[in-house]
Amino acid sequence: MPENMIESRGLRRIYKTKKEKIEAVRGVDFTVDAGEIVGFLGPNGAGKTTTLRMLTTLLEPTGGNATVAGCDLRTDPVGVRRGIGYVAQGGSTDPEARAGEEIVDHARMYGIDATVAQSNGQALFDQLDLEGLWARQCKTLSGGQRRRLDIAMGLVHQPGLVFLDEPSTGLDPQSRANLWEHVGRLRSEMDTTVFITTHYMDEADVLCDRILVIDDGAIVAQGTPDDLKRKVAGDSVILSFEQQRSTVVVAELVSRLDGATDPSIEGNEVRFQVPDGASALPVLLRAMVEHDLDATGVEVHRPTLDDVFLTMTGRSLRDEAMAGTTDQAAA
C-alpha cells in the first residue's frame, strides 16, 4: 500500500464557456495518508466536486497532476481506477435492476470472477444492513438502503481508497448515524482510506481525522477538526455566581489567564474566550479557591466547525446545506 494515498500537486481545472474562462479549481496541493479519513469541505461551487471528479479520473485536469492510490493520474488512469472506489452523490444503480445483480456486475467490471464477486457482495450486504435485499429491484429500496447499496458497490472490489461524495445527503438522522458507523468501520476493519465531501459540519467533526476546506477553487485551511477550531476563536467560557460582587474579582483573575479575551460581566455572569478551555479552567478555578470564591455554574462552549467555516469563507455551511446540493452544476 502506498504511504500517500492521494498526493495532489497543483491540480487545476478551467471551464471554458463562450464568454469567459472559469477557473473552478485553482491549483490545489494536499496529501492524504494511507488509513486517514479526510473530510473535504466547501460551499457550493467551491470546486469540491470538480476536484473529486479529477481525482477519480472522470474529468481531465487542465493543469497539475496527482498520484492517487499509487498511480499517476495522467499516465495511468486505469491503475487509479483499479485502486479506488467512488460513491457518487447521485446514486449508481438502475431502478429496474436487482440489487444483487448490480453489485456482482460491478465487481466483474474490475475483473473479479463471478463467484468471488458474489461472496464479496453478500458479505457487504451483511455488513451494511442490506440482508434480504439481494433480489429486490433497486427502485423498491428506501433512500437509506439505496445509499448503503451505493456504498457497497463502491467497496465491492476492496479498494484501498474510497471517495464518498456527500454520502448522507437526504438521509434521516438515524440513517446518517448508521452510515457514520459504517464509514468508521471501513477504516477500523478494512484499513480503507476515506476521502469524503460533505455539507454537514457534525458529520465532518464525528468522522474525519483531518479536514480540508476549499473555497473559490483553493484550499483555505487544513488540519484536524480541533486544530481548526482552536485557530478560529477558542472556547467560550461562562461562569455564574450567587453574588454580583464576586464577578469583579473573577474578571480580574481571568485577565491574568494566558490568551484569554477581555472578560465581560453580565449580571451575575462572567464571559470570556480562551484558546483551550479545558486547560485554562483548572488554573482559574484554583485561583478562585485561593480568593475564597465559589462559582455556581461553569459552561464551556467549544467552537463548532460551522464557526470555523464562517470565519474561513465568510459563509455559513448550514445555509449551504439548506440550499441543497446543487454544486453538480459547477462540475
Binding site: 471528479r53 477519480t56 479520473t57 472522470l58 474529468l59 486505469v78 481506477r81 483499479r82 479506488i84 467512488y86 457518487a88 447521485g90 446514486g91 449508481s92 444503480t93 438502475d94 431502478p95 429496474e96 435492476a97 445483480e101 456486475d105 460491478h106 466483474r108 467490471m109 474490475y110 475483473g111 451505493d150 458497490m153 462540475a331
Partner: protein, 254 residues
Amino acid sequence: MRFLTDTWLVFSRAMRLSLRNPVWVILGLMQPILYLILFGPLLEPVASAPGFPPGSAWQVFVPGLLVQLGIFGAAFAGFGLIAEWRAGVVERMRVTPASRGSLLLGRVLRDVVVILVQGALLSVVAVAFFGLEAPVEGLAIGVVIVGLLGGAFSALSYGAALKLKSEDSFAPVVNGLILPVLLLSGILLPMSLAPGWLQTMADVNPLTHIVDGVRAVYRGELGSTDAWLGAVLTIGLLVLGVFYGGRVFRKESA
C-alpha cells in the same frame, strides 16, 4: 481479451434489463407489423404504376419496413442511456477499469440483437401471412444488414445522448434528423416514383442505397452493384457511428 469480457458484461446486463421489461421490444415489433397490415394493401395497386421498381409490392415494401425498424428502434436507444446517466450508472461504470469502448459496444450489441430478432420475426410474418416471396439467403442478408444499420444508429444515438444528457434536447435532435432521412430514403414508396429534384436529394442519402440493396437481395441479385453498395454503406455507417459514439464515451465527463 479484457475488452471482450467487459463488452460481454455490459451486453448481458443490458440484455437482462431489456428482457425484464420487454414492452419496448414488443412495441418496436408491433409498429412494422401494423404497417404490413394497414399500409401494405395500399401498395399492391401502386405496384403496377409506371416507374415502380422491379419486384412485387412486398419485395419492395418489406425491405423498407426492415430498414425503418432498424433505424427507429436504434435511434431512440439514447433515451435509455440518458435515464442510466441520470441514475448514475454511466458514471459508476466509468470509474471502473473497464474500457470505455466496451461501455458503448455492450449496449450497441444489445440493440443489434434485439433488432435482429425483430427483423427475423418481421420477415417470417411477411413470408407466412403476406405472400412475400424472396430467397432465404436474401431474407437472411436483409436481416443482417438491418442489424448492422441498427448498430450504427444506436451508437450514434448513444453518443448524442451522452453529449446532450437531457431528453428535452435529445428528442428534437433525433426527430429532426430521422424524419427527413426516412422520407428521403424511399422506404415507404420507392424513389423511382419521385420527381427529379426529389430523386436527386434522395441519391445523396445513404439509406436510399441501403434500402435498394436489401430490395436487390430480395430479388435474388446477391452480387449486384445495388447489393454491394448497400452493404458497403451500411458498414461505413457502422464504423462512423462506433467511432463517434466511442469518442464521446471516452471524452465526455458523464
